[in-house]
C-alpha cells in the first residue's frame, strides 16, 4: 500500500486531508509528512510543548486509517518495555506442564548421550516467537498493513535508549538474539517528538527528517481555533488570538501554547462571553498561564495589553 496510496500523492492533498481531520497545518508540516512517506524516513518533531506534535501523529494515523502505536518515553525506559519481553509466566507454566512429558521423550533412550541429543532436537522451544511479548516497537514492526509509530517525548528517555532506536529507525528491523532479525512487514511511519529538554544525539538526528513546529502565527492560529471551536464568534476569536499572540511576546515562565488557546476558547464559550473584557480575562487567566508568577505579571499589564488591542 506504500507509494500507491492515493492519500499521499501531493502535499496539497495531505494538507487538505489534515484540514478535514481538524488539524490545520502549514506546508512545512505537510512537506515533512510527504517526504517521510516517500523516503521511508522517520521524522523528529521538535518544538515547544503544546503546539500539536503528538496530535500530528494521531492525525497522520487517522488520515491513513492506520493503527497508531504509541511509546511514551520516560527515564529508565528500557528494551523490555519498548521492544519485547519474554512471557516468563507462560514459560514457567509450560515447563511445569511439560515436565511430565519429559519421561515420554526420553523413553527408551540409550545412555545419557542419546537422551541429550534427543533433547537437543527440540531446539529452543521456550525462546520462540510464541513466547515473545511484543512491546510497542516490535508491535509496530509486526503490523501487516503498516502503522504509525509515535515515540513520544524522546528527550525524557535515557541517552542509551536512543542507541536502541537506531536499528529500528534506519533499517526497520529488530534483532532478537534468541530468534533472529524481525523485519517490518510494512514499514511504519515513525514520528518522534522531543520537547528539547536535552539535545538528541547526532546519530539519531542523522537518521531522521527534522521538523520544527514553532508557535503558529495569528492567521494560522485563528484557523486552528475556527476548526476546533467552531461555535466561537469571529470577533471573539480574533480578540482571543490577538491576546495570546501578544502574551507570547512577553517574558514568561511558560508561554501559552495552542492547546491552551483552544482550552481558553472553550472556556469562554462555556462562560457565554461574547467579547473579551478585562474581567473575563482576569478570571480566566489561569487557563492559559500555569504559573502564579506569570499570572501576576500579566494581570499587572492587563490594561496596557487590552488597550493595545482596541486601538
Amino acid at each position: 500500500m506504500h507509494e500507491a496510496s492515493p492519500l499521499m500523492t501531493s502535499i496539497e492533498d495531505i494538507q487538505r486531508g489534515f484540514d478535514a481531520q481538524g488539524y490545520i497545518c502549514n506546508t512545512q508540516i505537510a512537506t515533512a509528512i510527504y517526504l517521510a512517506w516517500h523516503l521511508h524516513k522517520p521524522i523528529l518533531v521538535e518544538g515547544p510543548p503544546g503546539v500539536g506534535k503528538t496530535e500530528l501523529a494521531k492525525t497522520v494515523a487517522h488520515y491513513l486509517s492506520l493503527p497508531l502505536i504509541r511509546l511514551q518515553c520516560y527515564e529508565g525506559l528500557d528494551e523490555s518495555k519498548a521492544l519485547y519481553e519474554w512471557k516468563y509466566g507462560k514459560q514457567l507454566l509450560y515447563t511445569q506442564v511439560l515436565k511430565e512429558k519429559l519421561g515420554d521423550i526420553l523413553n527408551g533412550a540409550q545412555g545419557l548421550k542419546e537422551s541429550m541429543s534427543r533433547l537437543h532436537n527440540f531446539g529452543d522451544v521456550f525462546y520462540s516467537p510464541e513466547f515473545i511479548e511484543p512491546r510497542p516497537l516490535l508491535k509496530a514492526m509486526q503490523e501487516p498493513n503498516g502503522s504509525v509509530l509515535l515515540i513520544d517525548e524522546l528527550d525524557k528517555a535515557d541517552y542509551e535508549f536512543e542507541s536502541l532506536l537506531l536499528e529500528i529507525l534506519s533499517d526497520y528491523q529488530i534483532s532478537v538474539p534468541e530468534i533472529g532479525t524481525i523485519v517490518a512487514q510494512e514499514k511504519p511511519i515513525v514520528i518522534l517528538t522531543s520537547n528539547n529538554t536535552r539535545e538528541i544525539s547526532d546519530a539519531l538526528k542523522r537518521r531522521c527528517l527534522h521538523l520544527y513546529i514553532p508557535f503558529p502565527d495569528a492567521a494560522l492560529e485563528q484557523r486552528i481555533i475556527e476548526s476546533r471551536v467552531p461555535e466561537l464568534g469571529i470577533q471573539l476569536r480574533e480578540q482571543l488570538v490577538d491576546f495570546i499572540q501578544q502574551i507570547r511576546q512577553r517574558d514568561l515562565k511558560k508561554l501559552p501554547a495552542v492547546s491552551e488557546t483552544i482550552d481558553w476558547a472553550r472556556t469562554l464559550l462555556l462562560l457565554h462571553a461574547d467579547t473579551l473584557d478585562r474581567d473575563i480575562v482576569r478570571n480566566t487567566l489561569n487557563v492559559i498561564l500555569k504559573f502564579q508568577d506569570d499570572i501576576e505579571n500579566i494581570e499587572a499589564e492587563l490594561p496596557a495589553l487590552m488597550a493595545k488591542k482596541r486601538s
Binding site: 502535499i11 506546508t27 510527504y34 517526504l35 523490555s80 519474554w86 514457567l92 541517552y159 527528517l209 521538523l211
Partner: protein, 479 residues
C-alpha cells in the same frame, strides 16, 4: 543541479551546520521528489533533511536565502531603478529611427544596431556578446552569464578576503570585458554621434556590471569563505600559547572554551549514568531460574552504575599561572553536565575552596573574584597542600581525581612532597598541569621533578588545544 546542491551543502557546513553524507543523499532524494521549480517547497524539503536543530535551522534559512538568491535575481532591482533614465534617452534618440520599432523595450532594439555595426567592423559576433547582453538589458540573462562565469573561474574556492579583487577581475574577463572595452574604443573613434552615444552607454553599463560582479563576488565570499576564516582563527587560537595571547582575544577564547566544553560534554554524556538500585528484576530472575525448576534461587537485581568522577581542581592563581587557571576553571565549570562534582581550590600562599563562588556567579565574574581574593602573596605549594589536606583529605577516595595546575615554583620553600604522596595514594588520579615546558622543570626554584614523582600524569600544557586533550583524557579515564 545536484552539483549545486553539493555546493549548497558545503556552504551549510561552512556555517557550522553538520551535514553527513547520508543526509546529503536524503536531501537529493527529497529534492528529486519535489523538484526544483517551487522554491518554498525545496527550502522546506532541504530544511527537514539537512538542518536538525533550531540553531541549525536559522543558519540554514540564512544560507538558503543567500545561496539561492546570489545566482538569480539580484540584478532586477537595480536595473529597474537605474534604467528608466537611460531608457528615456534611448527613446528620444530612437525617434529618428523607424517608428514601428518603438515597443515597450526600446533598448533591445538598439543593440541590434550596435551589433550590426560591430560585426561589420570587426567581423566577429562573439566579441560583441557582452555588449549585446548589456544592451539587451535582460537581467536574467546577465545573471546567468555571471553565474556561468563564476562557475568557470571557480569563484566558490575563494578562501580569504584579499582574493575578492582578483576574482572579480577574472570574472569580468571571463565574461568578455576586454572585448567590450575594445568595442567601446572602436565606437568612440567613430565619428557618428549615434555610435558615440552607444559607446557612452556601454561604458556606463560596464561600470554597472562591475558593481554587480563585485556584489556577486562579495556574496560568494560571505557564503563560502567568511566562515572558514573564523574557523582558521579558532584553529590558530587553539594552538597559541595562552600566556602570549592578547586580552583582545579573551572573548574569542571564552567562546572557544564553551564550544570545546560542549563538544566534550556531548561526547561523554553517556558515561554519566545512574540506575535504580535495590529493585528485583522480576523478569530476568524468572528467566534465569527456569533451569532451577522455577524456584527463585538466583536473583537478579536492577543494577546501578555510578559514573560520576569527583574532580578536585587546585589552581595556582598567582601571576603568570593565573591565565591558565582561568581557562582550566572555565573549561571544568562549563562541563558541569558531565562533571557535576567539581570542587575548585585556589591558592597562592594559603589555599581556600572557591566552589561556592562558581556556583553563585557566572564563570567570568567568578574568576575575577577568585583572582581578587587569592592571587596576593608569594606562591607556597607546601602550605597549599597542607591546607588542602586539612580541608578535604577525608573526602578523597578512589573515585577522586585531583588536578593541580601550577608551575611548581615554590620560592625555595618547603615542598612538602609527602603531602602530595598521601593524596596520590588515596585518590584515583593526580594530574599535574604545568604551563612550563618540560625542559624548564627542575630549573631554579622549580620543585616539579619531586612533585611529578607523585602524579599519575604530569604534563606540560600551554595551549588551549592541550588543555582540551587533558580534560578529554580525564573524562575518558574517570569512567
Amino acid at each position: 543541479m545536484d552539483r549545486k546542491l553539493v555546493d549548497f551543502i558545503r556552504v551549510l557546513r561552512n556555517a557550522d551546520v553538520r551535514v553527513s553524507t547520508s543526509e546529503s543523499i536524503d536531501a537529493m532524494h527529497a529534492a528529486a521528489l519535489l523538484g526544483y521549480h517551487n522554491r518554498e517547497l525545496l527550502k522546506q524539503a532541504l530544511s527537514s533533511t539537512l538542518a536538525k536543530s533550531e540553531a541549525e535551522k536559522e543558519s540554514f534559512n540564512y544560507c538558503f536565502e543567500h545561496f539561492f538568491s546570489a545566482d538569480t535575481p539580484s540584478l532586477s532591482q537595480d536595473s529597474v531603478e537605474q534604467w528608466p533614465a537611460a531608457n528615456k534617452n534611448d527613446l528620444s534618440a530612437s525617434d529618428d529611427m523607424p517608428s514601428d520599432t518603438i515597443i515597450d523595450n526600446t533598448t533591445s532594439f538598439e543593440p541590434d544596431i550596435s551589433l550590426q555595426s560591430d560585426t561589420s567592423e570587426h567581423g566577429s559576433p562573439v566579441e560583441a556578446s557582452l555588449a549585446n547582453l548589456l544592451m539587451a538589458n535582460n537581467s536574467n540573462d546577465i545573471a546567468i552569464a555571471m553565474a556561468q562565469a563564476g562557475e568557470a573561474i571557480k569563484v566558490n574556492n575563494m578562501q580569504v578576503f584579499t582574493q575578492k579583487g582578483p576574482y572579480s577581475w577574472r570574472m569580468l574577463k571571463q565574461m568578455g570585458m576586454d572585448e567590450l572595452q575594445e568595442t567601446i574604443r572602436a565606437l568612440e573613434q567613430n565619428r557618428d554621434p549615434a555610435q558615440h552615444r552607444i559607446a557612452h552607454e556601454l561604458t556606463e553599463r560596464l561600470n554597472w556590471l562591475r558593481e554587480q560582479v563585485r556584489d556577486f563576488v562579495e556574496k560568494k565570499y560571505l557564503l563560502f569563505a567568511s566562515q572558514s576564516r573564523q574557523k582558521l582563527r579558532e584553529e590558530v587560537l587553539k594552538k597559541a600559547r595562552l600566556s602570549s595571547l592578547d586580552r583582545l582575544y579573551h572573548r574569542d577564547m571564552q567562546l572557544l572554551v564553551k564550544k570545546m566544553a560542549k563538544k566534550l560534554a556531548s561526547q561523554h554524556a553517556r558515561r554519566k549514568r545512574v540506575f535504580k538500585k535495590g529493585q528485583l528484576n522480576a523478569g530476568k530472575t524468572i528467566a534465569r531460574n527456569i533451569s532451577n525448576d522455577g524456584i527463585m534461587f538466583d536473583t537478579h537485581w536492577k543494577s546501578k552504575r555510578r559514573d560520576r568522577p569527583k574532580v578536585f581542581a587546585i589552581c595556582d592563581v598567582s601571576g603568570s599561572v593565573a591565565l591558565y587557571s582561568r581557562f582550566l576553571l572555565m573549561l571544568l565549570y562549563s562541563l558541569h553536565e558531565v562533571l557535576p562534582k567539581v570542587r575548585a581550590f585556589a591558592f597562592s600562599n594559603t589555599l581556600g575552596e572557591v566552589s561556592n563562588v562558581f556556583a553563585q556567579y557566572s564563570i567570568e565574574k567568578a574568576i575575577e573574584l577568585v583572582n581578587a581574593q587569592w592571587s596576593m602573596g608569594s606562591t607556597d605549594y607546601g602550605q597549599a597542600f597542607e591546607d588542602f589536606s586539612s580541608l578535604c583529605l577525608d573526602s578523597i577516595d578512589n573515585h577522586s581525581t585531583i588536578i593541580i595546575l601550577g608551575d611548581a615554583r615554590n620560592n625555595y620553600g618547603d615542598a612538602k612532597a609527602q603531602l602530595l604522596k598521601t593524596l596520590y595514594e588515596r585518590s584515583q588520579r593526580v594530574i599535574w598541569i604545568n604551563p612550563e615546558s618540560k625542559s624548564m622543570w627542575g630549573g631554579g626554584d622549580s620543585e616539579m621533578p619531586r612533585y611529578a614523582a607523585y602524579c599519575h600524569d604530569a604534563s606540560s600544557c600551554n595551549t588551549l588545544g592541550q588543555l582540551e586533550n587533558i580534560v578529554e583524557r580525564l573524562l575518558r579515564q574517570t569512567s
